[in-house]
């Protein structure tokens, strides 16, 4: 292997080596597959490895490069969260319900990344149906945090975050319904971007809450996230909620300084409830942004607390409708020897879904049921608008909003899994961003007792460019994103 340390390599570095013909995609893919095979037993970050498909795709990428062809990620290995349908490759959503499901088609994100030349190594672990903040609701068992294997990697995109942090791939996809990209990125010390709702097609992503779900890149650096976002995003005729908006070249948008940029600090994000060690890391990060020319202003997001209640009505309600499709008839788990149709439905679903998924289906069904719809679902949709308006007003005074990505660092496996409310609080800083449909970026901001914590930047709708520019400038000044867990060196 030429001078590439896979434990810390970025996609940009890997692309440079491929373009210089220092290494072939087949060699690179073999090397990453070897790391997956050697390390995944400790991490449980990957559910399915596709050795054969990856090597075939790598060969195709090498051939394309020889012909002077190939997309913007040609030959770069990548892992997909196991929520993206991959044609011919098992897609479980980390659920018994889909344990043996092989999709007949690719998600748009998957086909776009394939067209850009990325090589799919396999599928990453996650919370079941993306419902969780620790990866512990996975039917396949929790993924582990490479910074401390006794800790969770966060969730729901925990396997993707752990895999990038441990150098199993330079890039992975994630999805974020209430923080599922940003919180695990924070807990694993990587960069994670939730784009604006509608920026990336949801076609072929197993649905959780359709008005909140959004896919995005999970990477080491902002530069890689910019490259990957360009490869993933854009209008898709297969998703009527994908946005018909111009797509800038996000990599070009990284240039330029932050002079005149106003960064809003919501007082609700810096209350006395915030762990003082986290607050200190965030304050340190803000000083770096100030040194780049940004100015800090106080803003108000008065319904931050109510965001949790709003989310935990809307997300389960939408989930209960989306997950009604798992009926044991057309695809997914079917119980043995059903006595009648009702038994087929109820037993297939009760056997196929884990307890957190069932809890959310129950809450969502209740919130949508006759007599409770106005008090819960309609009320939550009204508060959602108030929260969205709060953000609009804040953005009259600033260009970005900053705060923590998560209330603390990674916690031990099992520490919160018996208390759903404690787990829900993990997403207090992230889920309002989904309610308002805005883009959010989590950036490594240093360590607390050896565990990473993330800075979150929130942007205006469809202004990922400003978010990425600020993140890139931050990473040019800091080394937090270059830190790698000691675990990754074991191989």
């Amino acid at each position: 292997m030429p001078d590439i340390n896979l434990a810390t390599a970025t996609a940009a570095e890997v692309l440079g080596a491929l373009n210089n013909r220092d290494i072939s995609s087949v060699e690179l893919t073999q090397a990453y597959l070897s790391r997956v095979d050697a390390l995944n037993g400790h991490l449980n970050a990957v559910i399915t490895v596709d050795h054969e498909g990856a090597l075939t795709a790598a060969k195709d990428a090498d051939d394309a490069r020889h012909r002077g062809e190939g997309g913007i990620l040609n030959g770069v290995p990548l892992l997909h969260k196991d929520i993206f349908c991959t044609s011919g490759l098992r897609t479980t959503c980390a659920s018994r319900m889909l344990e043996n499901f092989t999709p007949p088609y690719d998600a748009t994100v998957v086909s776009k990344l394939k067209a850009a030349g990325a090589v799919t190594l396999g599928k990453t672990n996650m919370d079941e149906f993306a419902m969780g903040s620790s990866n512990e609701t996975s039917y396949f068992g929790p993924a582990h945090n490479p910074w401390d294997l006794s800790c969770v990697p966060g969730g729901s995109s925990g396997g993707s975050a752990a895999a990038v942090a441990a150098g199993l791939a330079p890039l992975s996809t994630g999805t974020d319904t209430g923080g599922s990209i940003r919180q695990p990125a924070s807990l694993c010390g990587i960069t994670g971007l939730k784009p604006t709702y509608g920026r990336v097609s949801r076609f072929g992503i197993i649905a959780f809450a359709s008005s909140l779900d959004q896919a995005g890149p999970m990477t080491r650096t902002v530069e890689d996230a910019a490259l990957m976002l360009n490869a993933m995003c854009g209008l898709d005729p297969h998703d009527s909620t994908s946005a018909d908006m111009p797509v800038p070249n996000f990599h070009d948008a990284l240039r330029g300084d932050l002079k005149g940029l106003r960064i809003g600090l919501p007082k609700q994000y810096f209350s006395e409830l915030l762990d003082v060690r986290v607050a200190n890391r965030i304050q340190d990060a803000l000083k770096e942004l100030e040194a780049e020319g940004a100015t800090l202003v106080d803003v108000d997001l008065p319904h931050t607390q109510e965001g949790i209640a709003t989310y935990y009505v809307i997300a389960p309600a939408e989930a209960s409708a989306n997950l009604a499709r798992y009926d044991g008839v057309r695809f997914g788990h079917r119980c043995d020897d059903p006595t009648d149709l009702m038994d087929l439905y109820a037993r297939s679903r009760s056997e196929g879904f884990g307890s957190e998924v069932q809890r959310r289906i129950l809450v969502g069904t209740y919130a949508l049921s006759a007599g409770f719809y106005d008090a819960y679902f309609k009320k939550a949709q009204q508060v959602r608008r108030i929260i969205s308006n709060d953000f609009k007003q804040a953005f009259d005074q600033c260009d970005l909003i900053a705060g923590p990505s998560a209330p603390g660092v990674a916690f031990s496996v099992g520490a919160k899994s018996h208390d759903p409310i404690a787990m829900y609080m993990e997403d207090v800083y992230t889920l309002s961003v989904n309610l308002a449909g805005l883009p959010g970026l989590s950036l490594p901001a240093g360590l607390i007792n050896g565990l990473p914590i993330g800075l979150q930047l929130i942007g205006r709708a469809f202004d990922e460019a400003t978010l990425l520019k600020a993140g890139h400038r931050f990473q040019l000044r800091t080394d937090h994103h270059r830190l790698a867990p000691p675990f990754g060196e074991i191989s």
Binding site: A243, V313, V329, R347, R349, V363, Q381
Partner: protein, 95 residues
Amino acid sequence: MSVTASDVAQVALLARLTIPDDRIDEVTDRFTRVLDLVAELQQVDTDGVLPMSNPHDMEQRLRADEVTEVNERDHLQQPAPAVEDGYFLVPKVID
């Protein structure tokens, strides 16, 4: 807001889930805790506020009414647990 085990059983029926008798108290307890959490919503004054179902208030985009897909029934039925002659098989519904 308190709900009883029979309320939860009724919701489970609507959701096509079965909760074993030995778990109904635990499920009811956790269900109640989630309802207590979301009760916070009732404190927000929402008089005259339009419900928001899409974060950008987007209109549903329509496409031209043209055939764009080919019939792939056999391919798309491959993941089904039981099919026969292109139909999904379920237990007998009508005697």
